[in-house]
Amino acid sequence: MKNELDPRIHRALDGELDPAALDAGERALVARLDALSRSLSAVPAGRSVAHRVMAAVRRPLATPIQRFRRWVTSPQPITVSLRPVYSLVIAVLLAALLWRTPEGPKPVLGAEEGVAQFVARFPEAHSVAVVGNFNDWRPGATPLSDDDHDGVWDARVILPAGQHEYMFVVDGERWVPDPMAGRYVDDDFGRQNAVLLVRPHRTQQ
């Protein structure tokens, strides 16, 4: 079935022909089609593309702020052109950055201070602390940690350079000399303290 629109009606819909030039039936058809067009599109019916383009051209220029807001909120194509060698360098740098071991904050040490590392293996322990003359022998003052639960406990402690006596306290009640210390003195209470010598940090470097 052929379904062609009368060219006059077409022109009337496009606004190129005054509807008064049409007969009553044609005007009714134009009115129906115009209403249908309005319901399908927000675009004002009865206006040609040329009209709408010209209307946009005649619209007052947007302010710089409006233009900026439009630029920021509307999608923009971004094209990055890199030479393969630069791409390779960037990839290597990113890989090196990701490969680097994460580091904690480095402490600031005085001239006569050094860092002592306490390490002990107590697989069954729930808590381990190091006590010594550097913390008044208080069991809760300097806990060791076992973050990966492998039974190896450790702590790094900033101490004044010189000799220190210490012991480990396991589960808050069992006092144990450091089995790895290799240096011990009697503690005058029937046990032995491990002895540690801390070198000043500047000589540990």
Binding site: G104, P107, N133, W137, A141, T142, R156, Q163, E165, L197
Partner: protein, 215 residues
């Protein structure tokens, strides 16, 4: 206005302020007497307070704590006398006295301690004595160990590097040398003893121990 008396009371805090609640009350008079005697003798009191706190933390009886504090005071007096005898310039710091005291406690003979102190009298003897005690603990002769450490000082090595000398001698033994050979070998290369490297990340996450201020 409120802070002034508080600061004054902190400034004049007595040693037993740290001890109360941490040692049996019955031990306090004996400890205070030992401390007063140490002050009279110009000896440091901090090692005595630490010894008392150690006894309290370990659950020792009052009598044992007082006895240990007096023993510690005796060791400090002995260390001071040894330093004087060795010609080390007075006054002596707690660190010097404790290092001599620990060397004696670790079994280094008194004549060897005196000889080492005399040789390093311009610097702190702690590291030299510790190095000699380490060598002795690993089976080296005390006299020969002292010879090596004194030679290292004579070769211009700093006090802090003397532990590297002891460690290097131990490594020579692990490579198959006898102990006299190891000492001779290290003596021949002084002062070119390699330093012991710090393990990677040894500084990371280091914390200061919590301890009340020394009165």
């Amino acid at each position: 206005m409120i802070l002034v008396p508080l600061l004054l009371s902190l400034a004049f805090q007595q040693p037993d302020g740290r001890l109360e609640g941490h040692v049996p009350a019955a031990a306090l008079p004996g400890i205070q007497a030992a401390i007063a005697k140490a002050v009279q003798d110009s000896l440091p009191t901090e090692p005595l307070i630490e010894k008392a706190l150690e006894g309290g933390a370990k659950g020792a009886s009052a009598d044992l704590i007082v006895s240990a504090v007096n023993t510690e005071a005796g060791r400090l007096r002995g260390a001071r006398d040894l330093l004087r005898h060795a010609g080390a310039p007075a006054p002596y710091s707690a660190r010097e006295l404790v290092s001599v005291s620990i060397a004696l406690a670790r079994g280094v003979p008194e004549p060897v301690v005196t000889r080492v102190v005399s040789a390093v009298k311009d610097s702190l003897p702690g590291f030299a004595l510790h190095a000699v005690a380490d060598l002795q603990a690993r089976g080296f002769q005390p006299d020969s160990s002292a010879d090596l450490i004194i030679a290292a000082v004579g070769a211009g090595m700093s006090a802090h590097r003397l532990l590297d000398v002891a460690a290097a001698a131990e490594r020579e033994v692990q490579r198959g040398s006898t102990r006299p050979q190891a000492l001779a070998r290290i003596k021949s290369i002084l002062p070119a003893v390699p330093p012991q490297p710090l393990p990677p990340g040894a500084m990371q996450g280091a914390v200061r121990p919590r301890k009340p201020a020394t009165p």
